[in-house]
């Protein structure tokens, strides 16, 4: 017996501490487990499959599991050769990014204004809830029905055009109201402003009202308070809302298709056309390109604010 009693006790304590630690880690893993499993099964695995298939070959009726970069090479076909003018993929992304930019800017201004009104002007909780529910009205019918109903409103012989012609505002019906970039932006804003309202509203609710009073007492004007207090404190909400809007619009092709009369290119539409032609690897390659593009935008946005820290 070389080890003394105190030594032995310390050893035991150490073992016990390690056991507790292991058990704690195990519990943590168990708690995170279900979510991880769902995430792995329904996100990571399909994503890995898409990436894998994007490197496969294909013919008219089947995908061929042989490594090739054909999907990517053909997607960027002519991008160097046609240099001053843009190739199909770059043109498509330029068009998509322009739409994203417009929709984002408008939903940001609108969403911020609505959230501001709800958070600071509506004092009553019940009214706040009721009014935020009002914002969900665009989601009460299906996307398709909602879009079809724009036609009698914005069409050449639609309500708006007839009203304008009768009022003498314009001589001939305005053609750009429907099946145009304007129509696409309008429909997207109509749909997705809500995704900006909710996170911004949520961030605003958590602003300590005493800060606003302090700003007022210190002699700040309403604009100064907005710019120096409200906006900085709403930043996490703005960034989260922006991520929602940008990712949805980047991938949208149904709204852009219907409202743009199928004549406006979008990254999602390229994928759809490829899928319809049974060219799955080419579609997968385009999906990966879209994912990378969207990922870059989100990475840039999350550099503006540490979303996790702010939540």
């Amino acid at each position: 017996m070389s080890s003394s009693l105190p030594d032995r006790a310390a050893q035991l304590r150490q073992i016990q501490a390690r056991r507790v630690e292991t058990r704690r880690a195990l519990v943590a893993w168990l708690q995170a487990g279900p979510m991880m499993l769902v995430f792995a099964l329904f996100f990571l695995l399909p994503l890995a499959l898409v990436v894998m298939v994007s490197f496969w070959d294909y013919n008219e009726y089947e995908i061929i599991p042989a490594f090739t970069v054909r999907g990517y090479v053909e997607s960027f076909e002519g991008c160097l050769a046609q240099m001053p003018s843009l190739c199909t993929t770059l043109k498509t992304y330029w068009q998509t990014l322009r739409l994203v930019g417009m929709v984002w800017a408008i939903t940001l201004v609108l969403g911020f204004a609505i959230a501001y009104f709800l958070a600071f002007h509506v004092r009553d909780r019940t009214w706040q809830v009721a009014l935020s529910l009002l914002c969900t009205i665009p989601f009460w019918t299906s996307n398709v029905i909602r879009m079809i109903s724009w036609i009698p409103l914005l069409g050449r012989n639609g309500v708006v055009n007839r009203g304008l012609v009768e009022a003498g505002v314009v001589e001939k019906p305005l053609e750009w109201l429907l099946f145009s970039e304007f129509a696409v932006v309008l429909a997207l804003v109509h749909l997705f402003t809500f995704f900006m309202v909710v996170p911004v509203f949520n961030a605003m609710l958590r602003i300590d009202r005493r800060l606003l009073e302090a700003a007022h007492d210190a002699g700040a004007s309403a604009w100064q308070t907005l710019w120096n207090v409200v906006i900085p404190l709403s930043k996490p909400g703005i960034v989260i809302g922006s991520i929602f809007v940008i990712t949805i619009v980047m991938g949208d092709y149904v709204t852009i298709g219907v409202m743009g009369g199928q004549q406006i290119a979008s990254a999602g539409k390229v994928i759809q056309t490829r899928l319809d032609a049974l060219q799955f690897p080419a579609a997968a390659a385009n999906a990966v390109i879209l994912l990378v593009a969207t990922g870059l935008i989100i990475a840039a946005l999350s550099r503006l604010v540490d979303v996790r820290k702010e939540l």
Partner: protein, 416 residues
Amino acid sequence: MLRSKLTRRGALGGLAAGTLFAPAVHSQEPKVLRYLGTAVNAGDDISKQCLADTGIKIEYITVTTDDVTKRVVTQPNSFDVLDTEYFSLKKLIPSGNIQPLSARKIKEFNNITPVFTKGELPNGKKIGGQGTAPWKVLYLTGASAKTFSATPTEFVTLIPTVYNADTLGIRPDLIKRPITSWAELLNPEFKGKASILNIPSIGIMDAAMVVEATGQYKYADKGNMTRAEIDLTMKVLTEAKKAGQFRAFWKDFNESVNLMASGETVIQSMWSPAVTKVRSMGIPCTFQPLKEGYRSWASGFCVSKGASGRKLDMAYEFVNWFLSGWAGAYLNRQGYYSAVLSTAKASMAPYEWDYWMEGKPAAQDIKGPDGGLLEKAGSVRDGGSYNDRMGAVACWNAVMDENDYMVRKWNEFIAA
């Protein structure tokens, strides 16, 4: 073992009893067929009549043309009977996911119109065969073969059911002058008021009709272009798009009706029943015959590779019922054409036959399948008789050898 024995007995029983009586051995289980196809043929009237006549319950799986193909290739066990177009066969047959039907078990096979079997009208006149004409892909060399046979065999890829000659739909009240050529589709006069189908393989053929009509180029086969020809055609389309010729492209039956009925478009590629629908809303619309001819399409039935035994017998019973007259008459009254003319004729009133098939003025009011008034007495069908319309077919819906290149060019066209 038991299964195959039952099948043989079932088949024999079915043959002995004719098509009227279902084989008694199977009567204990409900007869259900899962029917994959587009909305064109998936009518409740047809399934109701079929249930009444044969006891077979049809479960429709209704998707778009492209999705039918996708589903066959990716989920071959999700359907029993497939209703699809002949041009899809170039993708479907090599996939091995469908099986041909045997001509010998189709009662009316020898009465099928020679449009399908020989590429000619019943009166012997040859019709245009550019594109995936049905007679090029009607037969397989064997029961599980993946190659088409140029000569008749027992193994039929698709038992023909319905077909039509498509052309441009126009709004005569808004155009106010005669339209006689495909060239008018891209005529700047209709800037912002034209539309084509948003299915690349069909859209490009309509554009090719225009290119030929304006005398810019003559294709060897509009349904199977070379890369240079695809470039040329897409260039014409792109210029038109940039100049604002198109109001919108449509993909769905109802979209085409909405565009035309609301006056968003005045000239566009269209389907016959869509024209009928616009007209039934009280809005003038003509399925305009054009001097360069029609772009035709045709569809038919085959079965999933998974169908065997009792299901397969049921599929034969259903297909035989479909060709026995009622369904044919129903389709003819919608402005389509049925594959077996003799049985359809027997199921139609003489005045109906004269109007729809002979191109004669209607002796009395023509009613639609729902019983509503379609045309007043005295009116004549657009394009005239069956022989006039089918005889003027210039090309058939197709999948090109250069399909992959064409799809890429289509995306470029959309982005332009």
